[in-house]
Amino acid sequence: MSFINYLSREINCKIVYYGPGLCGKTTNLQYIYQKTNPEAKGKMISLATETERTLFFDFLPLALGEIRGFKTRFHLYTVPGQVFYDASRKLILKGVDGVVFCADSQIARAEANIESLENLHTNLAEQGYSLEKLPYVVQYNKRDMPGIAPVEELRALLNPRNVPDFEAVATTGIGVFETLKSVAKLVLTELRRGGG
């Protein structure tokens, strides 16, 4: 749910990075945080366990610039990927304007990807959303790892609707901003259509 403030002339939108445990959602946000000018970003917050696994969410506020005199601000969130944090994941999806599904390209994680994507569908449906109608992009992360599946295979499994998708290595930043820009564009396009 975007928030439009006519007084301060700001548009605020919420983007959620979803995906299985250890797929690199937090790493995406960390890279964005590192590479963004200080004046365009707020503090990054990570509610994590002692072993640096996301416990509740990561949060990064970003300012992207002005559009028709309105400042555009994006609030990026990640969900905890581990299966047993499902109750928390549902909460993070509330009021979402755009979703990035971050997949782990390793063959060994194929099942975890599918499970997480099905979980995303279920949790969105519970809130009255549908992935088909939301701004949505897919990222195939960890392309630098050994034992990865070909992109065509991942696409067939995880992106049958052929939404924008990107190969990524979040640790070095490959594909990270491409993914973010793509989903942000879709969110703004949706806003123009009167949704969001």
């Binding site: 548009i11 707020g42 109608k133 123009r192 969001g196």
Partner: protein, 160 residues
């Protein structure tokens, strides 16, 4: 389809700001802010200069969401009030009309009783304002400045 937008206009914003400014004084508190349930900051008053209100707003919304989740498990509708007591700072969090969150940060210059009393009155007033705001947002004839955004406008935003 995503959830309806939250929109803030000058008229309602001024009404809200008046209430939060007054609440800072009446409750003798340090900071008052209002956020929506998604963590977007709507208004703030008091000594906010050295406070990361964006982060606080996001964390408060997460907190309210988590507490709402617990309420649901206990077959409660919501827990409308939360209070956190620290050594120097205390936070009183009130859900208003199940729509927005009113946060009051205060120290030992005031009391929880006074804060509660003033929050109650402010909540009733805020609820009325947000109800009328929602009616305004849901008006199908409402004009939006974004209908005229072009692909170029969006592309330009991402030109490095």
């Amino acid at each position: 389809m995503s959830a309806p937008q939250m929109v803030m206009y000058e008229e309602e914003f001024n009404q809200i700001q008046t209430i939060v400014d007054r609440l800072v004084r009446d409750a003798n508190s340090k900071v008052v802010f209002i956020i929506d349930k998604n963590g977007q900051l709507i208004a703030a008053a008091g000594d906010t200069e050295h406070l990361d209100t964006t982060s606080l707003a996001s964390l408060t919304a997460g907190n309210i969401a988590a507490t709402g989740g617990m309420a649901k498990l206990l077959r409660e509708n919501e827990f409308n009030t939360q209070y956190h007591e620290g050594e120097k700072a205390n936070i009183h969090i009130q859900l208003v009309g199940n729509r927005v969150i009113l946060v009051v940060i205060f120290d030992n210059k005031t009391s929880l009783g006074l804060v509660r009393l003033r929050v109650k009155k402010a909540s009733e007033e805020l609820n009325g304002i947000f109800e009328s705001l929602v009616r305004k947002i849901q008006d199908p004839d409402r004009e939006t400045p974004f209908a005229e955004i072009t692909d170029d406008d969006i592309d330009n935003l991402f030109n490095d």
